[in-house]
Symmetry: C2
Subunit: 418 residues, 2 copies
């Protein structure tokens, strides 16, 4: 079979499996997730053996240490995969729940019922644990999933796919509900992105290059997350200790992730008093400060920021700091340079807190808390499949519920329309 034929066949089989998964009882979906966890645990040496093949190839191809690191399936990776499966297994099953019930004047009883989306395609880069994490969330929501991981993780992903498939067969569920594209060639992605007849949603996970490629080539709707250029704004009258803790935590607790702060905006009236203490904390932890000219006058440790620093996602121990005249200027800066991801205000003013929350156009807006809480787990979604920075369907961290949609169900007693 050609690559085209393989991919189209997979997509068609996924559509059929999706029909079966959509009506699969919650208990069976929970059960299959636990079963997969059990099998992954039992067959960990097989998985690691296949993973070795990927690692050998990666070494031969002289991939970077960072890439090889992300590729390794260790005992800890296995534990995190199986823990994740059980956690998702325990979540509430959204499928079939009713909401927004209402009675119409003619007696029709209207409600919305949560239903799966159908077939979801996940396109991602090297880490093979995504194969398991993403499959678990899609399955919990009653969807079928087609996974296309990085070619570096080819053997690892095939091994995981094989194990998951066996679990489905043993449980009498449709094994095509989880399929890993068995083709290393990148043209398989292009074919996948054309299958809008069978696939309902594409979620790319990886660097900006991958995401742009998917967006530009997909006939299927894409839920995307570009970058996280997050801001903390320190308002006039903010509690300095709280502000310091939030700035520090937002930057230093894990600098390489999308919800770490990249730019701190400070109200002019507090800059002089607040900046020296914050700078001391940052410098002690090796954080480089890139400041506007006012910041540089107050703290000599700061390096003068250039224009490119304001829209930058440093993903590193670097932070841009700017003095602003008031909250309006802070919000203008966020609008101009932000990425609609996550922002936080530190304030003790009731009205400005309310205004910031209402007017800042980002997927998660905090008052008096670290930007690092912008995450599906932290916000109570249980687990997340990604963070959407575009507004359609979902905006912000996406959990199981965001992998569903709803239909109208209407109960009548013979009503007809006049």
């Amino acid at each position: 079979m050609s690559i085209d034929e393989i991919v189209v066949k997979m997509a068609r089989a996924a559509k059929i499996a999706a029909g079966k998964m959509a009506v699969c009882p919650a208990a069976e979906k929970k059960n299959i997730l636990f079963k997969i966890a059990e099998k992954i645990c039992k067959q960990s040496s097989y998985i690691k053996h296949e993973n070795e093949k990927d690692l050998e190839r990666a070494n031969k191809m002289k991939l970077s240490n960072a890439m090889i690191d992300r590729l390794i399936i260790s005992d800890a990776t296995i534990k995190s995969m199986t823990d994740g499966l059980k956690e998702v297994g325990q979540l509430n099953d959204p499928v079939g729940t009713l909401s927004e019930t209402a009675i119409r004047p003619n007696g029709l009883q209207v409600a919305r019922m949560r239903i799966p989306l159908g077939v979801i395609g996940i396109i991602y880069e090297s880490r093979p644990n995504v194969t398991v994490d993403a499959a678990a969330l899609c399955l919990k929501a009653g969807n079928a999933v087609i996974l296309r991981g990085g070619s570096e993780a080819f053997y690892s992903n095939q091994a995981l796919s094989h194990i998951i498939g066996n679990a489905f067969i043993e449980e009498g569920l449709p094994k095509d509900a989880v399929q890993v594209v068995p083709v290393r060639d990148r043209s398989a992605v292009n074919v996948l992105l054309q299958q809008d007849e069978y696939i309902d949603l594409i979620i790319p996970r990886g660097g900006e290059g991958l995401i742009r490629f998917v967006v530009e080539n997909s006939k299927i709707p894409v839920l995307k997350h570009y970058k996280g250029v997050c801001h903390v704004y320190i308002d006039a009258g903010a509690d300095f200790n709280m502000a310091e803790q939030i700035c520090f935590n937002s930057k230093v607790q894990r600098p390489g992730v999308c919800n770490a702060v990249e730019t701190i905006l400070i109200h002019r009236s507090v800059a002089q008093d607040f900046l020296p203490g914050l700078t001391k904390m940052f410098v002690r932890s090796g954080v480089q400060i890139r400041g506007c000219s006012e910041v540089c006058l107050i703290v000599p440790e700061a390096k003068e920021a250039i224009e490119e620093d304001w829209p930058a996602e440093f993903l590193d121990l670097i932070v841009a700091v700017k003095v602003v005249e008031n909250m309006d200027h802070a919000m203008e800066h966020i609008k101009k340079y932000g990425s609609n991801h996550t922002e936080s205000i530190v304030t003790s003013d009731y009205g400005r807190g309310r205004r910031f929350v209402r007017e800042v156009d980002s997927s998660v807006v905090f008052v008096n808390a670290s930007t690092r809480f912008s995450d599906g787990n932290q916000l109570g979604l249980g687990a997340e499949i990604g963070i959407s920075t575009s507004k359609l369907h979902a905006f912000g961290p996406m959990g199981v519920e965001e992998l569903t949609t709803s239909k109208f169900v209407v109960y009548g007693d013979g009503q007809i329309r006049d």
Copy 2:
């Protein structure tokens, strides 16, 4: 300016206006809708005068009577536009409402706040009242809107645009919140569909050709509604009188619309007794029946159906009728030939009613009611901008709320992440 420049400039201006509309208080949004209604009413002779130019051109170009009919702005059209504006004005404003509030173990208070989508592009065919109806819903939800109507309605749409713009200026609101593309050339649509930097959503309204064109050429997400091939399934043991009424109403009350029934499926055990009565009703109203071979044996009035009749959207006084062995066969038929739009079951069986609702993969599923209720107004949404038959973001009739999305808002007391 070139067409490209005109359209890009509009899109950029819309984005800026959207930022202002997003924070526009509910009372002001209501007020501007009433203001537009008042101005349309006062300037009806100007509107009709401009409409005359379109009609003259349409006559010269020998457009069909049906098309010319849809183009006419009569006093009744004006009244329906102004009534619609006031109705939408009176709806609850969704923007800023909080839902799914929760407290996290660390005390963070999490909620979702409903917010506008941003800039919505509406691409539609001849009827100029869509200009007003679509603008009203988009505005109510706090969005900016770019309208591109059919070239046949060029002068009418420009006149309406002019009036709406003046209302915005008088009320001190951003007039770029509603813009009508001032270019007759179709290439303007192509340019519009590339403005994913400024436009958040495209809604095409019109025939299948227009919708396919938009889907295939848009870089912006599209909410689409292809066709409505709706089914009514008459279950074993159904109340015959109720079943007759529902079949008749679903087909005859308004045959030319997407929620009219196209195929009736009848359980074999009741076909013999039920069909003659139903046929009599249909024949009396001029409905042509295209039946499967079993139907043709029972009612000689039926013409033998061909394969093309099962997936057909007749939009006419024609109905396909098929005898099925049981509900599973009915659901298989719906899966194979349906369009995920609307289906109804007539039954007195509790379990089968529940199963049909759960398992049928359509945007609206009825038990014991006419398919004609599949409509935003009838289901209580107040007004509708269209019916989505794809699942992402919205599935089924879309009202004001479907023109919004939600962001997370999180209130803390200085929480930082461990």
